[in-house]
Amino acid sequence: MTRDATIDSYHSSESIQQRAQTLFSQQQEQVFRHTNKMFAVLMILQWLLAVAVAFYFAPLTWNATESEVHIHVWLAVLLGGAITALPVYLVISEPRAVPTRYVMSVAQVLFSCLFIHLMGGRIEAHFHVFGSLAFLAMYRDWKVLIPATVIVTVDHLIRGLFWPESVYGVSTATLLRSFEHAAWVLFEVFFLTLSCRNSIREIQEGASRRAELEVTKHAAEAADRAKSQFLANMSHEIRTPLNGILGFTDLMLKEDSQRESGYRPYLESLRTSGRHLLVLINDILDLSKIEAGQMQIEMTRCSPHSVISEVMSVMRVQAQEKSLNLEYNWQSRMPKSIETDEVRLRQLIMNLVGNAIKFTERGCVKVEPRFDIIGEAPMLYIDVIDTGIGIAAGNQAHIFKPFSQADGSVVRRFGGTGLGLTISRQIAHALGGDLTVKSKPGYGTTFTAKVSTGLLANAQLLAEPLSDALNTTMAKSPRNRSRMATGKVLLVEDGEINRKLIVTILAAEGLEIATAENGQVGVEMALEQKYDLILMDMQMPVMDGYTAARRLRNEGLTAPIIALTAHAMNGDKQKCISAGCTGYLSKPIDIDVLVKTVGETLEGYLPMNSESKASAHGESTGEPVEEDLPITSSLPTENPVFAAIAIEFVEFLEQQLEEIRNAIDCNNSEELGRIAHTLKGTAGSAGFASFSALAVRLELIAKSRDIEAASELLDKLTELAGRIELPELEVCK
């Protein structure tokens, strides 16, 4: 059934009527059950009251000085018990049955008879009849009043005809008088019936409204699901071909740099346009997700300093190109880690710093975080201050609206989509904070992002801002990428263009590449032959990447699997890891990132005594690497901050190796997996990629519970740890 047809079927009046009828029946059932229970309790209470009344009014009967229990007491106990027994039993055993409430109606009016007798025919006792009829109306079913009314009416008519003294106290009574008594009862019943019918009508109207609301809700949910699916599909459909465009453009640029064909300016324009299109598409998709309320936030612990440092590292180049000073100063002690969505926080700061650089022609851009624990909840404030063109006061409210920039001239001069600040503010809100601006045209602008830090019980606060070395543009030429280890790679990708692109890139690195066009073929190939690395597209026909990865792991495959996916949301990353992937690359794939990831993964996976193994310390010699070469962090350790990180990692590594040893001795695979997982992330952050890769392998081994392999890997880790070299530090043992 198509989407429209599904919604239309919900909307049909017939289905609404049916649903309304069902809801009405359900509510009516509920009323019956509830009233039955109430009457069951009332029956028991009335029985007890009858016994009490009998004891009060006529406890004993006398024969001069001799007495015995009055028959009224026995009648109250036995007859009252009999009246109570069946209705209570039916409420328990047949609460929904129609006869239950009719039996209740009869029993209730019989209690009226009993009370009138026990109380000596007092006028006051007769009110029990009228009260009972009113109680019976609580069933909201006028038919329930019929048995009670019939019993009272017939009783009075018969007594009036055959035994008028019992009712009227005289031996003669006219039929009219009997009707007069019955008429008062019928009078009440008439109005109770009207009340029941009104009540039923109200319930029916309520049910109709609920049915309509349900239909509307279903339709809204269906539309929402369709929208989500559309967004997910568009993300994949748009990013996949863009991946091909940008990838091949990069390749052509690389080749052109050697051939000098003269097409370079065209290719660069192509790449710029493609990247701009990618930014635009990402922003639009992000905004669509935000507006659909589907921006996913994954709260994890992360180092705010690491996030900001990474942004600074990435944006440094842009700042240098405009000869801007990029500064990073702490305004207070900062927590070592906070609980937030690291990816979204990075995106937020990246947007703000990118904007600041874009709109600043001269001077500097400063990033100044500060931590506030005085308010209601601890918050992290990040001020991004620039000496740019500024924003007029009248425009400051508009800049956060989608597709709005300060004014029309901004678009012409600086370009942009007008979505960045909208998205940034939404991200800040999602992270428990806000994004505000202060600006003066001609002097500059300060954007202040405020985000919640989450629980910080026992959190460590790091010291005051470090040395001025942080303020320098941390120009450090990137290390030369090492020659990649050779190996066999299996690429499982359904897109022909993407296959060609990736094959071209990796073949140029000296890797042997095999390809499969879907997950099914990929699984067969991976099980037939040994591959050192599998690159797995996650969205494929026949068998998708998740299923293929899961199947390979179930078959005992331990080779690393890197997921390639256009779904770049946090939840998807976790989904890939849960399926058995060891890494994750989002499309469009950055060539450098692809090569780096493949290289690091192969270095960690391939045997250490292989002649084709790349040097772990990053110097490219083109010669086979010797095993005793020192290992250093890829971070710029001449900077004290990074040196401290490297030192801290070495201390941490020593601890982790001890814990791994203990876990192996205790045969504790779960603990081993946990330690490996932690080491993987920490080693990567500290710039020791080889340890990160080995930790990935150790995590896989832990899952397969191969303690012997774990022991071998521990020896390898220990040996590598012995080769770590830190500047001006003792070699870690």
Partner: protein, 201 residues
């Protein structure tokens, strides 16, 4: 309820209840024992008859629960026929009973009726004199001392409200005429249930 069993249970239940209510009705309509009353006012020093004024005497067991209704109806009668008759309520006092028999709720109820004199009857002498055997048994002697009514003034045991006995008494007191009438009395026995003789109590 798919099986027939529940309906059978309902029918049985209905039958049990009908029998129960029938027993209750039967009891409430079972009169007490009554013996023939003296047709002329019996002479006694305990109860004074005023010549030319009817005299009404009700005998009440001090603890009979059914007589609560009778005394209640007596109060209504007296209210309607104020000063038209001399009204006595006689409570037999039995030998060997406890102190709680000396002042009972019924005695208090009767004492509160304006125009009614309560009389204690030690040894049940007055009961014997009038041949009263059931609680609530009422004797009305007209202005000439002739028996005008003998019986109860409720329609069933302990049942308040109008009765044929009340109507008969009202006819006499309102001088509407009518012959001597009698209606059943519904109350506890004043005597141990033995044939009436001088030694009965």
């Amino acid at each position: 309820m798919k099986s027939q069993a529940p309906y059978v249970v309902i029918v049985v239940w209905a039958i049990v209840l009908v029998v129960g209510f029938a027993v209750m009705e039967q009891y409430s309509l079972t009169p007490g024992e009554m013996h023939e009353a003296a047709l002329q006012w019996p002479q006694t020093d305990e109860l004074q008859r005023i010549a030319g004024k009817p005299t009404l005497v009700m005998f009440a067991h001090p603890k009979c629960p059914c007589t609560r209704a009778s005394i209640g109806e007596l109060a209504r009668l007296v209210t309607r026929c104020r000063d038209k008759a001399t009204v006595y309520v006689v409570f037999p006092i039995y030998k060997g009973v406890g102190e709680d028999w000396e002042q009972t709720a019924l005695m208090s109820q009767a004492e509160q009726i304006e125009g009614v004199q309560t009389v204690c009857d030690p040894q049940c002498q007055l009961c014997n004199l009038f041949h009263a055997t059931s609680s609530g048994e009422t004797f009305l002697y007209d202005s000439k001392g002739n028996l005008a009514y003998h019986g109860g003034i409720t329609s069933s045991r302990g049942h308040a409200g109008d009765s044929a006995g009340q109507d008969a008494i009202l006819s006499v007191l309102m001088q509407r005429g009518g012959r001597v009438s009698s209606h059943p009395v519904f109350g506890c026995s004043l005597v141990h249930l033995r044939p009436l003789d001088n030694e009965s109590q």
